[in-house]
């Protein structure tokens, strides 16, 4: 018996090898060779079975599946139906799903959008052509059977184009060509692909030098990769809003204005996704020229595109630490060029209100203009001392650090402005029955502080918890040329004494514009501080019992706990702009 068994297995292996070999012999074309040169968006997953394995076997996914809610959801009808469907396919094919995917699509899955035909293409390359054709047939049969049971006409019609078997349903076409499966939603496009497959190589996406260059640079380990031909998109008049002259949202302009200026001129964008057990990394890059930002967006990348974000402050303990180069004052004053009419009108109104708020100091010019463009922002959990009464909702403290352009002149100005502001808040607060802020000054060896803290609430004796106001003790600090503005006194102190550092050492050719980190442990702590509130909100908004709500919130907090940090950065070289997000998971215990 064992002997026979072994021989059976080797036979299968042999058959597999030969069939793969046969496919390889029949066609060594790449997906790009099958696609038309007018392809504007291209994406590939080179090793689908690896991705599937990573996802299926990922420790995080297994932990998610263990969550009560997910387990419950997996017992729901929709999911059970899906599983039943999969089981039918598996039994008909005689293979488990992962094997089916591995054999029918193991050579890669490719996705493309063609501008000329205005169509979508999905290509899959088999490692075993027969599994692929069998899968298609099985699915077609199941669909026909289902339609028949419901008394509907057969949804799929079979056909033939130049000897290649085709299936069509509505406008969708599928062709099966010896190991290649091509699905499109346009008849023309389908024919073109089959032609490229049958005929000697002709003009295709693969011959586009721009594409070829980008594609050659992809690392072999990259899980998924995408390419967008921006020049063609612009020519085709797609995403008109993005390419239009002026932004309609001031905040979006501040965050993305520089990126948009590159997208308006760059020939293409590539996106890479790397998934491993410990990390998910998504990064997008585009050819870049420092001239492109122009004068109006100098606020974003700095003079000659060389504005550098300083190093991040408080690496540990912060929830978020962000550092960026952004000349907000310049943007405010350049708004006329950058924003459309409506948002300029809104900005004008905001400017008027803020100017009132800041006691007549022009907000864009005097307040924002006092600061240099290297800005650092820190958000961190605040500790409430034992025995000290704490607000019932505990917000994180936050602060901003920037250098003053003219410290001698600006320090007294800003101090007065701050004092006026506190007075203004007290007047408004008094009218609304809010507690009052008490101003104070403080001097240490290295810094000078102006702080404001809420006077104790006369009603705080009762059990009802302190108002949300008590999260704040707004403060400013001056340390040399450095200016700190913070939501709490403690944060102002921390930031004023945090070590000043020069731009981070490193790749001199890479200019980091924005650099931010989110620590999940710290995030989890602040959420845990507010657990009771979260549970209460869950009870009301999900109609849960207390136990159910606690379970829900517990699971959400657990989920946050599995992550370590998220890094976000935007940087440029003389010829490239890159945005990347890295999410790191904690090592599984």
């Amino acid at each position: 018996m064992p002997n026979i068994r072994i021989s059976c297995r080797s036979l299968v292996t042999l058959a597999l090898l030969t069939s793969t070999a046969a496919v390889a012999a029949a066609d060594e074309r790449t997906a790009a060779q099958l696609l038309p040169p007018s392809t504007v968006i291209y994406a590939e997953i080179r090793q689908p079975q690896d991705l599937l394995a990573t996802v299926y076997d990922h420790p995080l996914v297994r932990r998610i599946e263990d969550l009560d809610q997910v387990r419950l959801a997996m017992e729901k009808k929709g999911y059970l139906d899906f599983k039943a469907g999969v089981a039918v396919v598996e039994s008909q094919m005689g293979l488990p799903l992962r094997k089916i995917v591995g054999q029918a699509m193991g050579g890669g899955i490719f996705f493309a959008i063609d501008a000329k035909a205005q169509g979508v293409v999905v290509l899959a390359r088999a490692t075993d052509a027969s599994t692929q054709s069998k899968l298609v047939e099985t699915l077609v049969n199941l669909a026909s059977l289902d339609a028949k049971n419901k008394g509907n006409p057969a949804p799929v019609t079979m056909g033939d184009y130049r000897g290649i078997k085709t299936y069509s349903a509505d406008k969708n076409q599928v062709a099966v060509m010896a190991g290649w499966l091509a699905a499109t939603n346009k008849d023309d496009l389908e024919k073109q692909i089959v032609d490229r497959f049958l005929d000697p190589p002709k003009e295709s996406l693969a011959e586009d030098p721009q594409f070829a260059k980008a594609h050659d640079a992809v690392s072999a380990s990259t899980t998924a990769w995408g390419y967008v031909n921006m020049a063609a998109l612009r020519d085709a008049g797609l995403a008109k809003k993005l390419f239009a002259g002026q932004s309609e949202n001031a905040v979006a302009e501040l965050l993305f204005g520089g990126i948009v200026s590159t997208l308006r001129q760059t020939p293409y964008v590539t996106v890479g996704l790397d998934v491993s057990d410990r990390q998910v990394r998504l990064s997008a890059s585009a050819p870049h020229d420092r001239e492109w930002a122009g004068e109006s967006r100098e606020y974003y990348f700095g003079p000659e595109g060389l504005g550098v974000a300083p190093s991040r402050l408080l690496e540990d303990g912060a929830i978020v630490s962000l550092s960026t180069y952004r000349d907000i004052s310049a943007m405010w004053q350049r708004a006329g060029d950058l924003l459309n009419e409506q948002s300029n009108e809104e900005l004008a109104k905001a400017d008027s209100d803020l100017t009132t708020f800041f006691g007549g100091k022009d907000f864009g010019e005097d307040i924002l203009g006092a600061l240099r463009p290297e800005v650092r922002v820190v958000v961190a959990r605040q500790a409430f001392a034992e025995g000290q009464s704490a607000p019932a909702i505990k917000l994180p403290a936050f602060g901003l650090v920037a250098d003053l352009r003219d410290p001698l002149k600006m320090q007294p100005e800003l101090r007065r402005t701050f004092q006026n502001l506190i007075g203004f808040l007290n007047v408004i607060g008094a009218m609304n029955g809010q507690p009052q802020l008490d101003l104070d000054m403080e001097k240490t060896d290295s810094a000078q502080f102006v702080t404001a803290s809420y006077l104790p609430d006369p009603k705080s004796k009762d059990q009802l918890g302190l108002k949300i106001n008590y999260n704040f003790s707004p403060s400013i600090a001056f340390a040399g040329s450095r200016f700190v503005v913070a939501s709490t006194n403690a944060m102002a102190h921390t930031l004023a004494t945090a070590i000043a550092t020069n731009p981070p050492p490193g790749d001199a050719a890479r200019v980091v514009n924005t650099d931010a980190i989110l620590h999940f442990d710290a995030l989890r702590e602040i959420l845990t501080d507010n657990r009771e509130q979260l549970v209460a909100q869950n009870i009301l908004s999900a109609g849960h019992s207390k136990e159910e709500a606690q379970r829900d919130i517990g699971a959400a907090l657990d989920l946050v706990g599995w992550f370590d940090h998220l890094l976000l950065s935007l940087d440029t070289t003389a010829c490239e702009l890159r945005v990347s997000f890295d999410v790191d998971l904690k090592r599984a215990e």
């Binding site: 909702i393 029955g433 009802l464 918890g465 949300i468 509130q533 009301l540 908004s541 999900a542 109609g543």
Partner: protein
């Protein structure tokens, strides 16, 4: 339909209900009782009630389920937690939650009744803590002694802030609270003079709210002699309130409002019909519970003069739907929907509270009410017996669409479902059955029926 109430014999009206061959104690009457006294009941609760006598079911409803202390404590904690947001809309969502899950729904209904009676809106009283404190006060006396309720509400920070009476100086007595106390809280219009208002206002001088607390400022109090409703005296420390409560009109005014709450919206009952209830209130030393029990157990309550003769309030409509079908939902959304339909909890429209009756209805609210039900049933967060509505109804073992529609109309409708409408609903139920949405769509359609507006 009888409308001339003069023809009703008051002695008969308030006698305990005795089931007869014509008026049997059955699922319809039990559903009516739960709809009015509670916020509806599930099929199982109605089945259990039919097996008991009407009087004992009424008694259980009024005395309340004994074992609610755990729930009460949990709700108090929840409210305290929510106060941290300082937002009274959160409290509205909280109250909906309490109404949905309490084992003592009559207590919540009566708390809501007093909220409409002593109407105070968070629109003006921005301090959520004061609103919650008032809510707790109303609940404490909801079925208890009316006298301390009036005394305490007269010193309630939210109330006095709402009526601009947070300061009341000797030199300029503020008439606002004095007027509302007589007009809206105790006597009703026409039972006092302008002179009485002015004199009563003097009694309340020096009653102040400072930092959210009541305090008596003796320097601002007018301790001179006043003449209120025919009696002269100093009327110190709330004696004036005691005096108003001894007026014969007061008991009649309060039972008149209870009558409208529990029996029917219209027409206004003649005094002789209310007199037995007023005597009952006085005899029971102003305890509200016994009077409510008498009303709920009466011949009149179970007669055609009461059945289906009220327009549902938005709260009755939504909370009633959910409680009848063992439902839970996103109470933030529901509270916002209630406000949209004119019954924002903690946000009554003015000092007179909600008018009720036909005032609930206009072309905008008719649509809004149907949409509220549609949203409730269609929302993923709404679960019936922890599943979908169709699953829940199927679990009750109803069989086909006919049985499902009959069950729904027993649970949700106060008047019989006209046969053509029944047929349509069955059709809708059947048509959507294969998407497992038959019952949900039927309830959606049911909510647009004029019959659904009645309680």
């Amino acid at each position: 339909m009888p409308s001339a109430l003069d023809t009703i014999d008051p002695a008969w009206a308030w006698q305990p209900f005795e089931p007869t061959a014509e008026q049997e104690w059955n699922r319809t009457l039990a559903a009516h009782l739960f709809r009015r006294a509670s916020f509806g009941a599930t099929a199982a609760q109605i089945d259990a009630a039919v097996k008991q006598s009407p009087a004992s079911v009424v008694e259980q409803i009024v005395r309340g389920s004994a074992d609610t202390s755990d729930f009460r404590r949990q709700c108090d904690e929840l409210a305290t937690t929510l106060l941290a947001t300082g937002n009274s809309q959160q409290l509205a969502a909280w109250w909906v939650y309490v109404m949905l899950h309490t084992a003592n729904p009559l207590l919540e209904r009566m708390t809501l009744f007093w909220h409409g009676h002593f109407a105070t809106s968070a629109e003006k009283v921005t301090d959520a803590a004061s609103m919650l404190a008032q809510n707790r006060l109303l609940r404490r006396y909801a079925l208890g002694d009316f006298r301390p309720l009036v005394q305490e509400i007269s010193r309630d920070p939210a109330m006095l802030v709402y009526l601009d009476s947070a300061t009341n100086r000797k030199a300029h007595p503020n008439e606002n609270y004095a007027r509302e106390l007589m007009e809206l809280f105790c006597l009703g219009e026409g039972n006092y003079s302008e002179q009485d208002v002015q004199e009563l206002a003097r009694c309340f001088t020096g009653w102040e709210i400072k930092s959210g607390q009541f305090r008596f400022n003796r320097f601002q109090h007018d301790s001179g002699s006043k003449s209120v409703l025919g009696k002269t005296g100093a009327f110190e420390e709330g004696e004036s309130i005691d005096w108003i409560l001894t007026q014969p009109q007061t008991a009649l005014f309060i039972v008149g409002k209870l009558y409208r709450q529990f029996i029917c919206d219209e027409p206004t009952p003649p005094p002789q019909l209310l007199e037995p209830l007023a005597s009952e209130l006085r005899e029971h030393e102003w305890q509200i519970g016994p009077v409510v029990e008498r009303i709920l157990g009466s011949q009149l309550f179970f007669s055609a003069r009461a059945l289906g003769r009220k327009v549902r309030s938005p709260v009755d409509m939504a909370v009633g739907l959910l409680r009848s079908l063992d439902g839970t939902t996103d109470t933030h959304l529901l509270a916002a929907d209630l406000e949209q339909n004119g019954q924002g909890l903690f946000y009554p429209p003015n000092v007179k509270g909600w008018d009720g009756g036909r005032a609930w209805i206009n072309s905008s609210t008719i649509l809004g009410r149907a949409n509220m039900t549609a949203r409730l049933v269609g929302n993923d967060k709404t679960r019936f017996g922890d599943g979908t509505l169709d699953e829940y109804i199927a679990r009750l073992g109803t069989g086909g669409p006919e049985q499902a529609v009959d069950l729904l109309s027993n649970l949700l409708l106060a008047v019989p479902l006209p046969p053509p409408s029944r047929e349509s609903l069955i059709g809708i139920c059947r048509k959507n059955a294969n998407q497992s949405r038959g019952v949900a769509e039927a309830v959606h359609a049911l909510a647009t029926l004029p019959e659904f507006q009645l309680a």
